[in-house]
């Protein structure tokens, strides 16, 4: 599945965690490749290793064995500073619990990654408003998370993830705290962004609604890839 457009490449990845006196193997010999513009999902029951794999790809964690290359950079060998830089420029995160900064307005939340990039104020403001318009929340720019619904908060989180036009967006159970209508709205937004911006989306989910939108489904079971299938869209 390798191509010149490879954004993520995982080779013989093993991740273990200490658990008392023993070690728990969360990922065991994972081999996967993702190309730019994919709309893929890691699917499986709780404890199958979805979030762990997502965290390693997101450079928030490192492999115990094997290698994870993200945008050509080996996650295990990255310094903290370089990992932070990679996250800031190339990777967007969407979390199950939205993880918006509570004291910031929607606009300030979306602006945050651009502040870290030291983008100038004019470009920053333009990019933020554009991102909020993509997710249909331009009118809520000054609202704080506490003043918005769960669906709106997740849309702000999506705007924050895509405002920097990252290569990869990692979404961990993005619809788990949303009702069906909001879930579909969010997923349609992400599909639209995937098509328009060519951003690679990688989900960790066991939500059937999300699975319905995926074009590649990787089933994980006990830390191993059980199946990896391309979904044909009619």
């Amino acid at each position: 599945m390798e191509s010149n457009n490879t954004v993520i490449e995982i080779r013989n990845l093993v991740k273990t965690f200490p658990m008392g006196n023993r070690e728990f193997t969360a990922l065991n010999g994972i081999n996967l490749t993702f190309t730019g513009g994919e709309f893929s999902g890691l699917v499986g029951p709780s404890g199958s290793g979805k979030t762990t794999l997502l965290n390693i790809i997101g450079t928030l964690d490192s492999p115990t064995e094997g290698e994870a290359l993200v945008m050509g950079q080996s996650v295990g060998n990255l310094s903290q500073k370089k990992a932070a830089h990679l996250r800031n420029l190339k990777i967007g995160f969407i979390f199950q619990t939205f993880n918006l900064l509570p004291v910031y307005s929607a606009m300030e939340n979306v602006e945050f990654p651009l502040l870290l990039q030291k983008m100038n104020a004019e470009r920053r403001k333009k990019a933020v408003m554009e991102a909020l318009e993509w997710v249909g929340l331009a009118d809520k720019a000054r609202s704080r998370p506490a003043q918005m619904s769960g669906g709106e908060c997740q849309r702000v989180a999506i705007a924050r993830a895509i405002v920097k036009k990252p290569e990869i967006v990692l979404a961990d159970e993005p619809t788990a705290n949303l009702d069906a209508a909001n879930s579909h709205h969010i997923l349609q937004t992400m599909v639209k962004l995937n098509k328009e911006l060519g951003t690679t989306f990688l989900f960790a989910t066991h939500d059937e609604k999300v699975i319905g939108y995926l074009r590649r489904i990787i089933k994980l079971f006990d830390g191993k890839v059980a199946t990896d299938e391309i979904v044909t869209i009619n």
Partner: protein, 390 residues
């Protein structure tokens, strides 16, 4: 710059929580400055009053005079050096003659110090001019506390008994001419002041004195045989010692208040970390380095200190200034502590005290913000994002 921008944004965004922390910290500034200003003012006032009421700028003691041993008083007076007579007449030097005596308040016998002082002296604040008069009666001055403890009023007759220089007992009545109010117990408790000439006559010691008090002008050259010079430093050594020991207790108080301020902000910051754990994990996920997070929290803590200093200035300056102007009323019982205590203490706030306090609280706020922030940097971001307490 980014750190400052984010810190300001966080502080503004936190709204009431920020202002509550800032207010508590500002109280630390004001209380520390107030307490130390009060102790400093108290100490300074006690010493100044002692100089104004008791010691003057310097004294000459008759060589046998020992204020700690009252039994030496009988032999502790000598002729006032002739070279000083003009200054004595002008009131620039105040001769004082001291002897032991007894008086009989409400049928009791009580030992006192009987002190004679020239009525026209301008050296100390004792209202000696109120004893000037042609009456054949002996006019006397009594301090307010002495008067209160013995129920003496202006115009009362006090019967005194004393021994002259030959050891002969004698007695006379003193008419109380005035009751003076002073903060200095050494001129008040257990003593009665009468005109110098009268006491010289009573003791059969004309032209003699136990000690001489000078004002601001230096001693002229004179034959100092039989007299020992005591400079201001020697005369105020006791009160300086008390002030020094009080300064130690002030320093302890200062440190305690500082520790309380430290604890308050430390507590706030530690709580903040646990509460903002998910936020911190998110910031790291969005591309902040761990060091940037440490910096952000440290700067936030320091900014609490700066904002608190500004807030403290807004309400603290008028409060502290009014205290310095109108003084702090003190209970009379504080006299029993042995240090001259005024009815009102006027706090003194030195620039040094204010600057040191601000710098100390700022540094403290920064350090106690840095320590928990450093802990954040060791958190596993994947756990922090989920808000799991580690």
């Amino acid at each position: 710059m980014l750190t400052f921008k984010l810190a300001i944004r966080n502080l503004v965004g936190a709204g009431l929580r920020t202002w509550l922390n800032v207010f508590v910290l500002s109280l630390s500034y004001v209380v520390i400055i107030y307490m130390n200003g009060m102790l400093d003012g108290w100490n300074r006032q006690a010493k100044t009053d002692m100089i104004h009421w008791d010691t003057g700028q310097g004294q000459l003691w008759q060589k046998n005079y020992d204020p700690i041993d009252p039994f030496t008083l009988q032999n502790s007076f000598g002729p006032i050096p002739g070279e000083l007579n003009n200054l004595v007449k002008e009131g620039q030097i105040a001769p004082v003659l001291i002897t032991m005596a007894s008086f009989y308040p409400e049928g009791r016998i009580q030992s006192i110090l009987l002190k004679g002082i020239s009525e026209n002296q301008k050296v100390i604040d004792l209202p000696t001019a109120s004893m000037i008069g042609d009456s054949t009666e002996i006019p006397g001055l009594v301090g307010k506390r002495m008067a209160q403890s013995n129920r003496i009023k202006v115009g009362d007759l006090i019967t005194l008994r004393w021994r002259d220089r030959n050891g002969t007992f004698d007695a006379a009545d003193v008419r109380v001419a005035a009751i003076f109010d002073t903060n200095v117990p050494t001129v008040d408790g257990g003593q009665i002041w009468i005109p110098l000439a009268r006491l010289q006559k009573m003791l059969q010691a004309p032209g003699e004195a136990t000690l001489l008090i000078r004002g601001k002008s230096e001693w002229p050259s004179f034959n100092s045989d039989g007299w020992v010079s005591k400079d201001l430093k020697t005369l105020t050594a006791d009160i300086d010692q008390i002030i020094k020991s009080k300064s130690m207790s002030s320093a302890v108080m200062y440190l305690i208040l500082l520790m309380l301020a430290m604890l308050a902000i430390f507590d706030t910051q530690v709580l903040s970390i646990f509460r903002r754990q998910r936020e911190i994990g998110t910031q790291i996920a969005l591309g902040m380095t761990r060091w940037q997070v440490v910096k952000l929290f440290t700067v936030e803590g320091a900014m609490h200190g700066v904002l608190a200093a500004i807030l403290a200035a807004i309400y603290g300056i008028p409060f502290l200034a009014s205290q310095a102007r109108f003084g702090i009323p003190m209970p009379k019982a504080t006299d029993s502590m042995g240090l001259a205590v005024a009815e009102r203490i006027f706090p003194v706030y030195s620039i040094g005290l204010i600057i040191i306090t601000i710098v100390f609280v700022l540094i403290t706020a920064t350090i106690v913000s840095y320590l928990p922030a450093r802990r954040i940097s060791k958190m596993n971001p994947t756990e922090a994002i989920k808000g799991r307490i580690q």
